[in-house]
């Protein structure tokens, strides 16, 4: 079901934390709300499910305004960060709970059938007799997902669902949640501060900061072409390096510290003397291109398949490069590597993309 937030506003103690937010999640789409702590993503989520009341604007499920409805009548499934399973009930009773409070209450056989159906989809049919305390973190996660999905909600909300899992399980559940979302075709919102989760699981990502959505785009598009400096800095691991400087003559960019690089070709015509910032991602340094930078290697971080190098190209200016593992460069070496100037991202003094 299609979900709309129109002019949504939420205040705490009279201070607006989110003002006039607009967001559309298409039917069957999975959208990530990505942002640092305190950016308003969880507030948005809790308002969609009805735990918080909106202070302004409308929330629409498939065109129907639900802003005034309490949580119970919104038909939203939520998976909480700590799963919030009912510890005194078995897995089966946990999953059945949303059905048993429905009015009219379905027959016991019907409830059992639906519980079994969802348990099979989520691969927990072998665990139905256990209690939450007897389950591993990943299994608890699955139960929480089953409970959220069993009454076929209009929208599924996932609040940092992978934050409490260890690294290996996180990888597994990432694809599991996506598989289940695709199989059920449910509209879903994922709230996370982890860019990898957001980019790998979702159709589109909305980056939030200070109560505002800065950009909504597909993961690839957003990574390639961020709308502003915040988005560019938030996405990417290892992160992008920003170089502050001014445009110089002949389509060049120069920093006070002494480093000069060619500008990206579409900016070559810019008048000189303008303050701009260039963003250089580690994969665009040391892999060819028209520019080049020389410096001393100050740090090497082997990551197995790849290696991360810190190169001091000028006093106080460190460029990062990620390359396939190589043994010929070590700390203290002087290197001259190519800079792919055309793929650098340029931002003006206000942080807008140029």
């Amino acid at each position: 079901m299609r979900l709309n937030l129109e002019n949504f506003t939420k205040c705490f103690d009279g201070t607006p934390v989110i003002e006039g937010l607009n967001l559309t999640v298409e039917d069957g789409e999975m959208l990530a709300l990505l942002g640092p702590s305190g950016c308003g993503k969880s507030t948005t989520l809790l308002s969609v499910c009805g735990i918080y009341r909106a202070d302004g604007g409308r929330i629409l499920f498939g065109g129907r305004d639900v802003s005034a409805l309490p949580s119970q009548r919104r038909n939203v499934g939520v998976v909480f960060q700590n799963y919030a399973l009912y510890p005194h009930l078995t897995v089966e009773e946990n999953i059945a709970f949303p059905l048993t409070v429905q009015k009219p209450r379905p027959s016991a056989a019907e409830i059992a059938r639906q519980v079994r159906e969802i348990a099979e989809l989520i691969h927990i049919d072998a665990l139905l007799g256990r209690r939450p305390a007897q389950l591993s973190g990943g299994q608890q996660q699955r139960v929480a997902l089953a409970r959220a999905l069993v009454r076929k909600p209009d929208v599924l909300l996932l609040d940092e669902p992978l934050a409490n899992l260890d690294a290996k399980l996180r990888l597994e559940m990432r694809s599991e949640i996506r598989r289940i979302q695709l199989e059920t075709g449910i509209t879903a919102i994922l709230v996370t501060h982890d860019q990898v989760e957001a980019m790998s699981m979702c159709d589109r990502v909305a980056i939030m900061d200070k109560g505002e959505i800065l950009q909504i785009d597909s993961p690839t598009q957003m990574y390639r072409s961020p709308a502003n400096r915040f988005v560019a800095g938030f996405l990417g691991n290892p992160p992008i390096t920003f170089l502050e400087g001014r445009t110089g003559p002949e389509g060049r960019f120069s920093m006070e510290a002494g480093l000069t690089l060619p500008l990206p070709s579409h900016l070559r015509g810019m008048p000189s003397g303008r303050p701009i910032a260039l963003g250089l991602r580690p994969e665009h340094f040391g892999h060819g291109g028209q520019g080049q930078a020389t410096g001393r290697v100050t740090f090497v971080e082997p990551q197995g398949r790849e290696m991360l190098f810190d190169v001091q190209a000028a006093p106080g200016v460190t460029l990062r490069s990620i390359q396939p593992t190589r043994d010929d460069v070590s700390i203290g070496d002087e290197v001259t590597w190519k800079v792919d100037a055309d793929r650098m991202l340029a931002f003006d003094a206000e942080g807008r993309r140029l």
Binding site: I51, V78, P87, V101
Partner: protein
Amino acid sequence: MTRNFALFPLMVVITLISLPLMVMYGFLILDTVTDAPPGALWPDEFTLRHWRFLWDMSAAGNVWKATLNTAVLALSMVAVVVPVSSLAGYAIARLNLPYRRFFLGGILVMHAFPAVTLLIGVFFVLKFAGLYNTMIGVILVKGALMLPFGIWIMKGFYDAVPWEIEMAGVQDGASRLTVFRRLILPQVKPGLVALSVFAFLDGWGEYLLPRVLAPGSDMTVMSVLLNGLIAGDDIGYDFNLFKAVGVFYTLPVIALFAIFQNRLMTIFGGGTKG
């Protein structure tokens, strides 16, 4: 190995300190079924005559009637304190109710307030309300005095239940009342059990309120009856009879502790956090 032996001196100290108590309890039980010559420590004959109060109402008054009264008082305490505390504790812990801070502070103050100082005022109120010298009056006063403790304990248990469980319940489509009844209450069950036992014991052991507020002979409870056995002016106290009635009075308490001792500890363990 060292860990086990490190506790050994501690156990010796505790045993030594509690030894006099154990000796006294031993003699308390022993004296109820024996007779000793005047001035002697060890008894020389076995007798059941000190337990004659169980069937001979002239020995210590109507013990069975007093037991019934005490039981009524104790059970009423459970019936009043547990439901009110479990609801009020939830409201204080979870609901956004007006004057919440005032209630919280008020409960704490009431909890620490010495009830005896209220006695005269309560006497006049009961007299005015026509509840003086009735069991209902005693139950109401005793229950009111115990509620701050009960509410505070239950609040501690509710605080330990994660918020998300409640949110999840509401999200699953259940009303707040259903969430409370089916999801929250089962999780504070240890608290309910412990509070029930405490309320029962508190009512069972109460002396002052029934003594002052319901002095009529119909309303005599065990503590008052026991006091009557040695409060008289006559010289010939029957100490062994007094001890036998005392043991009889204590038996339910011991039984309750034996059954619920692990549950009672939860009040002092996890329950009172926050």
